[in-house]
């Protein structure tokens, strides 16, 4: 599995550099405008793009077919993608964390609140990946992208419907349980891994 991770990191090396560069630009802008919130959100959400890019690259060069000819189990191949996503997510979160702690104390924005928020966003990014990966395995990159756009429309539509119907969203209640969100997100990742392995075992290349 280490071999697969190294291969994936090499494959997305360029994109990873671009994500880091864009994050730094956002960081500079955020420091300038004394609002670090924007940077935090965007940098962590970018970490979602990398595992998807890695799947797109694999699909393009028919990597999976070759991987299956090597001494690698189907479970290990799928698991390595999840570990890659997790590593990228954690890595980028740590970079963001370090930058926040670097800039925060000098008055470039409130960072005490941003740190816990960052972990929530980071867990949220993993939740998105948890939804995305089984779709990518099942439908391929092209179709999965469309399905994702539709899926992400649903919460938006629901909120529009809710506000039209004047349903009161129990914000206080949500805030009370917000610390459960990361746990729920990582739980979702585990379920997603299980589903992806099931899909991948049946797949032919």
């Amino acid at each position: 599995m280490i071999g697969l991770l190294i291969k994936d990191l090499y494959a997305v090396k360029k994109q990873l550099r671009i994500v880091l560069l864009i994050s730094l630009i956002y960081f500079a802008v955020s420091v300038y405008s004394k609002n670090l919130g924007m940077f935090t959100g965007i940098a962590v959400m970018y970490s979602i793009l990398l595992p998807i890019t890695s799947m797109a690259i694999d699909e393009q060069c028919k990597w999976d077919r070759y991987a299956l000819a090597m001494p690698l189990s189907r479970t290990a191949i799928v698991l390595s993608k999840y570990v890659l996503a997790l590593l990228l997510n954690l890595g980028i979160s740590l970079v963001v964390c370090a930058l926040l702690m670097l800039a925060g104390p000098y008055g470039f924005g409130a960072y005490e609140e941003l740190l816990p928020m960052m972990f929530t966003i980071s867990a949220g990014a993993m939740a998105v990946i948890a939804v995305m990966l089984p779709l990518l395995y099942k439908f391929g990159v092209e179709k999965a992208r469309l399905i994702m756009i539709i899926i992400f429309l649903i919460p938006f539509l629901l909120s529009v419907v809710a506000s039209n119907l004047q349903v009161e969203i129990p914000l206080e209640l949500l805030e009370k349980y917000v610390y459960l969100l990361p746990a729920a997100a990582y739980g979702l990742v585990l379920v997603s891994l299980w589903v992806s392995v099931l899909i991948y075992r049946r797949k032919e290349f």
């Binding site: 280490i2 071999g3 697969l4 190294i6 291969k7 090499y10 494959a11 090396k13 360029k14 690259i57 694999d58 393009q60 060069c61 028919k62 990597w63 077919r65 070759y66 991987a67 299956l68 000819a69 090597m70 001494p71 690698l72 189990s73 032919e204 290349f205």
Partner: protein, 281 residues
């Protein structure tokens, strides 16, 4: 003699194609050429051997062990070249070396870099700047750098010029000097097979046509050239395939049945073409 590869009753059905009851075995220490037209089922067979796709029926043994039960262990000993180059284009031969050594237990980076030198492949260039021939050579280098005992190669020489092809065939012949080593290769280029293969397996439309020793095959069959009238008098069933031209008829026949006639040598390509395209008598 032990078999490196043994296939029994292998069957796989798709909507429009069926690989039907294929059986053959490749003795250790030999090279088997796997021939057939496009779409005959060569790649399907290779994917089934490697369990990239699931078989419907049949049994595959590699070094006497079931290919599904001992899959991970067996694949340590198999070097593979598939019909496409399957590395991401942004990688370099050097980065391939870095991850391959974590995948194959016996990955030998010296051997790998030696092959890169031999094939004149740059170590630090991205694969997107490689020609098809260079990419193929890279795949061959990877397949041969982890002390594999069995090479399974899907069209390893297509798209290469005759000089490079010859070089690669020499490397295959060198590999086979170790009598525990074996090669199973599919190809369109039948002249390559004539040069190196000990056995030939021929499939057509998903069915096995024959498995033969190359020399025996070439000795057994020949091409009879005769006039139309003489041809009419030949026994039905004695001709495997024929075609008419303006001088008369050319027919693929078994030499033993035509002693006293002038029968020319047939190449593997002739045998393949007469059987697939020739008319039957």
């Amino acid at each position: 003699m032990n078999n490196a590869l043994e296939i029994n009753g292998l069957t796989k059905t798709y909507d429009r194609f069926r690989l039907d009851n294929i059986s053959f075995s490749l003795p250790e220490g030999s090279i088997m050429g796997f021939i057939g037209e496009n779409g005959a089922g060569k790649t399907t067979t290779i994917k089934l051997i490697l369990n990239i796709i699931r078989r419907d029926e049949g049994e595959i043994k590699i070094f006497g062990r079931d290919n599904l039960i001992d899959e991970a262990e067996l694949k340590q000993d198999i070097g593979v070249v598939l019909d496409d180059i399957n590395f991401p284009e942004s990688m370099t031969p050097r980065s391939i070396n870095k991850f391959m050594r974590h995948i194959y237990r016996r990955w030998d980076q010296h051997a790998f870099f030696d092959y890169l030198d031999k094939f004149a492949l740059p170590q630090r260039k991205e694969l997107k700047s490689f020609s098809r021939g260079m990419k193929l050579k890279l795949s061959i280098a990877v397949a041969m750098s982890h002390q594999a005992k069995l090479l399974i190669l899907d069209e390893p020489t297509s798209g290469l010029d005759p000089v490079v092809r010859d070089e690669i065939l020499d490397i295959f012949l060198e590999f086979i000097q170790n009598e525990q080593h074996s090669i199973f290769l599919s190809t369109h280029i039948t002249s390559d097979i004539e040069k190196i293969a000990d056995y030939i397996t021929f499939i057509h439309q998903g069915r096995l046509v024959f498995v033969e020793e190359t020399n025996e095959l070439l000795n057994r069959y020949g091409i009879l050239k005769c006039g139309l009238q003489d041809f009419e008098q030949l026994e039905p069933g004695s001709v495997l395939g024929y075609r008419k031209n303006r001088f008369g008829v050319e027919a693929l026949v078994e030499r033993a049945k035509f002693k006293g006639y002038t029968v020319d040598d047939a190449s593997i390509e002739d045998i393949m073409l007469f059987i697939i395209r020739g008319e039957k008598k």
